[in-house]
Symmetry: C3
């Protein structure tokens, strides 16, 4: 949620864009028009890599789960060779959902509940009764519609666009920042799903600045005062466009983590530099992931629009295998603090959502502290203006 | 719900269309677009004969009931001469509903609750206070707006199009199939109203094939195995277009009816041939009625769209007067089995409704068992493509 | 709710328009089309003077309340100099609501809950942290967006159109009718908010005639029979257009007020003529206020559309300070009678709302008793037909 304070960087560091000094926030229509959301889903959510959870949610062949992307249901399944596949969750015969549960273990195939068309774990159509005399019906062409899938850092990423850059091509410079951190082995320690009455972009704008931290988050501001830290990545990079932005904030005093007390008994994650052990690193990965690396844990948010004025937010916490295996492992010190901070944010985001629907609203002005927010808004506005 | 198995007919029998061997199921838009539903209501529901219940629901003068057709409320009433009339249920003065109850008995007139404009049982405006000096106001022109009404087989049928073919002109070939069956005297033995999360056409498609019967309906499939029977009527007839389709299925072993046990103590309906005493005859009457004649009872379904993704289904069971008058008459053996089968169908129909809304859905392929379903889909698609 | 009987005026009195003798009620679309409501909000609710409550609701500096006009939230606040100001309730920074409660007392400023931008009681931006280096950012231009506000008769009136006629220019002829009545000092004695399933215009049409009073309101009709009284103001005045309409009804027998018994111990309001002490005077102020002056109290209704088929109605009762200060002051005799009458009206209005959505509805005819209703309908229809 907070990103960074935005103190001007010293010479030689990343130079921030200056949209926020001159620009106006987007028109209200971008926050309530169903046509805009339809376009955003097609342009952003269906064409970019989306993180949708951990690989270890489906450890063995036949393990599967389903997830929502806008109105779409996507099926993730590990096949007999241990590979993860992703498919639109609908039968090629009459469109029926083939996986009905949120998830399951050890399936051998997916049998459509309507007419028993059967698909293998890698999506091939292996059974379709009474179709022998149907013309031009090659079963090889009637597998479940595939969705591109890759993994990185223990996370599963999907892309609904059949062709295009790989995950590494699209997000390589982001991924490289965490080369030293053994993310693959992290263990899910808890999380929560929120239903929020705000446009998905208002959530991203909120995460992209800590200008609101003093008024809204006294607990957070005590541990990491909003004027500490710096931005170190923008969508508008000097050399071109990027698909992530963010920076870091610094702990006050001798605080060591984002917990109620500011302290933790958990060790820092392996590979953490002394510098980073005093920081929280906050990044937005376009369009909808917040990646917040704390000294002793990783927190993610994934933001899923369900209507122009509503989104579902998945918030999860990951810990090192050593910490998670400790007999007295208790992640609630971090999770509870962040639940408090989350709820503070969703409240003000909902109040902003109400106001931008006003006929009086013509857009506002950014403060000096909102370089990342303005950068995101400019990026979205430019992308929407593009010819398809 | 099941129609027939679709084994190829022997020479000389009805020849089935071949859409199902080559065609693709309709585009997803037909199942979720509100504009499509509006067009379907105007073209199908407001221009064709609709069965809306039994004559004996309103046996005496002044008896009435109201029924919904899309957003419309229609008033059915028996007048002083014993004739049944049908009217839009709204006052000609300010549009107010004139009949507020679902039904009633022995009314002498309909008095609008707002300003007391009064209508006779045959729809004439008989009272309109303070209108003497209003210009060009001839009461004879201000009766309730009439809806065409006819009866057949003990059923009331209405048609919202003021002019056009009579019921017999439109559905004569269907009606003649039951000339030997004394349908007029049948007694309502029970029924149920279902709210279903599927487009109305998905319900018709479901009723038009038994390809799903083995996976979805083990009880039904045990009594009437899905490969028995045959189709004997199509929307696309060799000589032109028809407004119904269907066929029959045959009982396995010595089963005699669709009940939990497969047996019944009820005698066959009068006029039933020995051949038909071993069959269930299933027909779809366009747009929204399923007519299922069992050896010992008649079952009907009427499907009413309430939104693109939702419909209300009225399911009723009619028995011979002799059976209904028996001291130990108990129709639950049939009604409970069909309730189980209905609920199995509504579940898979709702799962298909979800999938056809996907951006990935481009239509599917029919199996060899879905000649009637493809025939219906082709008929609807052609009708929608017609110039208005 | 009732207006007047509409007996033809004697020579020399106001001449009523004759729309009702020849015209047809508006097309059904005006009552259910969201586009029509959007236009009506822009043309009627956002361009005319709207009464939104009493001055004495915010008696002291820093007292405030918020009110809804369509989807807009408007903030009313008394400033340090005792003046009432009206503002769109949204921060100029990110659009966030600045006043969250329905009302409050003694505020010193409005601090946006999101980033603490701060506004004075007269709407000026007095605090905006971290904006010193923002370009072309003059705080004087970033106050809360103002809404025009005036007062009359102890009521607060707002107008969302920044320029245009003053309250007195727009409604002067209406206001002058009550010059003799000391409205300013009246005290709120009670009221109720209703949610009604009808288009706002159906509510106005209902208030504009007493043709429905005999069938719908036996209690009212006993006290003020519907054929008494007369209309004395129309939207279509001989000399041009007006923004109000109405008339009066007369008490039967020796009744003295609209209470359960027809009698009251409360004295007539100061300034009431002997003639008016035997009357209830009912007026519609365009677009959404009903102003009903009884001998001993004033009643108002304010009608707020929330969708094409729904509105919220605020109904309030005001009494003389002397009556309100009496130890045995009990306004329930009037309020309970009017609650009964209101609910009778909302019921028939909802039944009319249902019917005008029918495809059969082509508009109805007015009776001789509906001159004011036809006048209002014609006025609205003409306004909507205007070029913007």
């Amino acid at each position: 949620m907070p990103a960074t304070a935005g103190a001007r960087p010293p010479d030689g560091a990343v130079r921030e864009p200056t949209f926020h000094l001159t620009g106006t926030t987007p028109a209200g229509r971008l926050y309530w028009d169903p046509d805009v959301l339809r376009t955003e889903l097609e342009r952003f959510y269906y064409r970019h890599w989306l993180c949708i959870g951990r690989e270890d949610r489906i450890p063995a062949p036949g393990d599967f789960f389903t997830t929502r992307v806008g109105p779409e249901s996507i099926l993730l399944v590990r096949d007999g060779k241990g590979r993860i596949g992703a498919f639109y969750n609908l039968c090629r015969h009459r469109g029926t959902r083939v996986a009905l549960e949120e998830g399951g273990r050890g399936a051998h195939s997916f049998v459509c509940p309507y007419h028993s068309w059967t698909y293998s774990l890698d999506g091939r159509l292996t059974g379709a009764p009474h179709t022998k005399t149907i013309e031009k019906f090659d079963r090889a062409e009637f597998g479940l519609w595939p969705v591109r899938v890759e993994t990185w850092g223990g996370f599963i990423w999907i892309n609904l666009e059949p062709k295009g850059p790989s995950l590494k091509e699209e997000l390589g410079t982001f991924l490289h920042r965490f080369d030293a951190t053994p993310l693959d082995g992290l263990k899910l320690g808890g999380g929560k799903i929120y239903e929020v009455e705000a446009n998905w972009k208002i959530i991203v704008e909120n995460f992209s600045e800590c200008y609101h931290c003093a008024p809204v988050h006294p607990s957070l501001n005590r541990l990491t005062p909003y004027m500490t830290g710096d931005n170190d990545a923008y969508f508008h990079e000097p050399g071109g466009r990027s698909l992530y932005s963010g920076g870091y904030m610094e702990f006050a005093k001798d605080y060591t983590s984002m917990t109620r007390t500011g302290y933790t008994k958990r060790p820092v994650l392996p590979g953490t530099t002394p510098e980073d052990s005093k920081r929280v690193r906050y990044y937005t990965v376009f369009p909808n992931m917040f990646f917040s690396l704390h000294p002793d844990f990783l927190m993610t948010h994934r933001v899923w629009p369900t209507s122009p004025s509503h989104c579902r937010i998945e918030n999860e916490f990951y810990f090192s295998p050593e910490a998670a295996a400790a007999p007295d492992f208790d992640p609630s010190d971090a999770i509870e603090l962040w639940d408090e901070i989350n709820l503070q944010d969703w409240r003000v985001c909902a109040l902003a959502q109400e106001g931008v629907a006003s006929r009086a609203w013509k857009g506002g002005r950014y403060s000096e502290q909102e370089a990342l927010t303005a950068d995101f808004d400019a990026f979205v506005t430019e992308e929407l203006a593009h010819k398809k």
